[in-house]
Symmetry: C2
Subunit: 579 residues, 2 copies
Amino acid sequence: MNKFIRVDMTTKQVTIEEVPAKYAGLGGRALTSNFVADEVKPTCHALGKNNKIIFAPGLLSGTTAPNSGRISVGAKSPLTGTIKESNSGGSFSQKMAKAGIKALVIEGMPTDDKFYVIKMDVNGAAIEEAPEEILGGCGNYKAIEVLSAKYGEKVGIALAGPAGEHRLPTANISFKDPEGNMRSAGRGGLGAVLGSKKVKAVVIDDTGAGAVPIADPEKFRAASKVFSKALLDHPVAGQGLAAYGTDVLINILNEAGGLPANNFTSGRIEHNDNISGETLNATITERGGEGKVSHGCHPGCIIRCSQWYPDKDGKYITSGFEYETIWGLGADAGIKDLDEIAYIDRAMDDIGVDSIETAVAVATAMEGGLLPWGDGKAVLDAVKQIAVPTPLGRILGGGTAVVGKVCGLFRTPVVKDQAIPAYDPRPIKGIGLTYATTPMGADHTAGYCISGNILKVGADIDPLKKDGQIEYARAMQIGTAAVDSTGMCLFVYFGIADNPGGYQALIDMINAQYGTELTAADVDKLGESVLKVERAFNKAAGFTNAHDRLPEFFEYEPCAPHNVVWDFTPEEIDEVYNF
Amino acid sequence: MNKFIRVDMTTKQVTIEEVPAKYAGLGGRALTSNFVADEVKPTCHALGKNNKIIFAPGLLSGTTAPNSGRISVGAKSPLTGTIKESNSGGSFSQKMAKAGIKALVIEGMPTDDKFYVIKMDVNGAAIEEAPEEILGGCGNYKAIEVLSAKYGEKVGIALAGPAGEHRLPTANISFKDPEGNMRSAGRGGLGAVLGSKKVKAVVIDDTGAGAVPIADPEKFRAASKVFSKALLDHPVAGQGLAAYGTDVLINILNEAGGLPANNFTSGRIEHNDNISGETLNATITERGGEGKVSHGCHPGCIIRCSQWYPDKDGKYITSGFEYETIWGLGADAGIKDLDEIAYIDRAMDDIGVDSIETAVAVATAMEGGLLPWGDGKAVLDAVKQIAVPTPLGRILGGGTAVVGKVCGLFRTPVVKDQAIPAYDPRPIKGIGLTYATTPMGADHTAGYCISGNILKVGADIDPLKKDGQIEYARAMQIGTAAVDSTGMCLFVYFGIADNPGGYQALIDMINAQYGTELTAADVDKLGESVLKVERAFNKAAGFTNAHDRLPEFFEYEPCAPHNVVWDFTPEEIDEVYNF
């Protein structure tokens, strides 16, 4: 990966640069965050010409390392105003890496009103006008078909959906996956940044690319084998996720009393059987989809957590049908029918909105009286309005914080204006610290403390108590920032947390590829440095410790069934970033 | 004024306290801001039980001092998240002062869903259920009639309109004026705070109250006479404002090239004759309203800038028809018909929304494609939807920043999420510094640099140049914080800026009333201390210098006809609060 492609949408110029020396050892989130910190003015408007958006494969992307195909996207977020990295599956990362492209940077803003496609290949990149038929509300499913037909079935595609064209703060970036469906860099409205630059899509054609160069192929193969085994041997990474998808968590969280229901008024639901991973699996099997129950979101995935969900006639509705989405609609918004949830998930993917932000916005809108509680049909209709967008569609597309504003709500579950996801911070205190302090705004993937608090993987910490949580949330965020830089799926954590050999194998693969001699301490240092860079950007953008707080209602409203409140003091919370 | 009334809406208890010693010498904004800083947790949710709202007459309110009848309202703002003081005319302040009530504090939040009226009189206060007929969308004009009929024609009334009931961030607090119409504490969404506490109205009945005690009545009378003359002798305060109202500024600002048009895309309009103060005056006269052309917003006003605007048949439409409202709808949103603007102004008053925030939200919504440019009928229909509220009504009622979010706009004219009012900061650089740095969010009344930049009252500073502006904006903000503490209308500034005798008379009146020996230096110190207290609150709430910035587009888009951009550096802006 020796090319740095820079596309200026003001001048419509493409420049191919050598990778700056300071970025040589960086990939994924480490690269996107350092780049944004270096080149984006922290106080700039996220939708203005001074924001830049960068796509970067992880360090191991494009190799044969299992689960290494995540693509990181970075920019200043129009949702949170913070620095943002959001990563996704799909084939984009591996194709970029194989084509030798370490990063694509899109900057500036056109003065005309047209939308464009950026086409990358082994020789560089070009800017072309976007086909008319994929604009003006065309859904992502169709857009992927049209672009695949035009540029070749095998190309990788990154796409701003209708929400991105409208620059709505919930807009995600969708990536074509191996089955021609899509995966998303969901959080933080990066699709709106792409839309503001009038980039409808980015296409990567890796035709003619060779294999990614590996300094020590033998060492790489050996390490890769150990790493694979570590993943496959683990009960969660090797079996649980494949069998039931991430939706396996519905029953686990419900049992733990940490499944937020009815806009975070309780931690448990009665209708968990309607929406659980077990029901999901049974339904898919019953409808003849068993061969497709489980698959990977990117080539080389061996965990295969993604679920392919068909209708009663066995016809595809949606895939990548995740726990967080099913929780948001099924528990937080109280929709009791899995098919209704599936159709809403499909609509969100098709429109290109973050399914977490949108689902929580829906539940918040129910509390605000904008939508009836638990009414899946009304929600599907409302979500589809985001593509138009109608005023109601704009409110939901504005995200949870906007819903809270226009409904005059006290109970708005956001941190730094980003929706709190599927784990209640009161009975699962570790994840609350991640929500409060990560530079990303509320984000479970920034330090998945559910692991040691609930799943007891990598640690065993009482979720209801404060003991040990500060150190744990810190360590998880540091480790995650490092993993997010490798191109690895976050779920590899399950394979390496309790398995020192698995962790060493991951480091060995990096060393084998780059001819480096990194140690575990170096990896920690990388994670720390990423967080420090991100936090410095946020500070310059105007964020202070006062923003590292959960919404006040968590301090006053006990969460059933454990009837606990959020009780970390500000001083304790601020300890998380004391490194 | 020796009573401090505290109403706890959680327990429905009323407590009458002695005025705490630390507040003895404070009134108006000095009192509200110190109180909020002392008792409100800066990081609290503005619509939660930890926010408090305080009503405080100015130091001179209730006396015979001309123009001393402004009431200050303070709280944490749900619009900006900052500390907020907003003041208003009407008879409320004088009646509170006469009844000996130095402040009314409303705190807590009911757990039931009813709305209440707080009734104050010389003996104390009581909480009563609000009459059903003024709830659920009842307009403010009717609510004032109902409350006047119930509590007596002569009572003072403070009111949360339908917008306040819905806790929308544009909700103002309306005060009954001497003619039974209304005046507003417009900015910052304080009506939503009242609504969150389920207080529909506050009534003050001063029956049985004596005169406000004056330590040295003779000195007071003498000073008051000098002060009156200073006001009446000044061409702006004594004549211009009475003849044409504040709308006299349309032609002045248009001529100066600082009248923001079409969502701040230019500083001049062609249709100024349609909406100018001269046209306003001629229209009122022609329609038989000449006796009512000019009147005061509160008893004892001798400037009488308020205009009473009738329809073609001479029937009242609206009053307090201000320049900023007419600018917002007429220039920024391009509505060319004064009658259409008047009906929209009436609707905004009736619904209880800030006419500046709402008008700018309307213009921004036009840029975002939500409303057609310049279409007064569409705007009237949309504004009326705030009372329902429909989704479109909620978006507008959410304020300009929300409109910018849901329309994905780069050009959103706000500072600290509050709309920039009627003076373009590019060709009038002094006012830009006030917008950027005042603790209130964009607010021209926090340091009206138009005075020395355009009107050449009190100073003569080239509006297009940076020279002298930093010191001027600082001095104007300090002086304003002091004046806002006296209960004086801001326009008294015209009478004292170039008239040292007038200024001394103002200080003499305070000394004569309280038996103090304040000097001009003490008044400056008071102003400084108020700003420091406000700024410290904001800092604790998470605000930094990074928030003291104008929207980025002002730096890049030259404003016609002078074609100048906003060019103060961050370091220069930060000098304003270097005291």
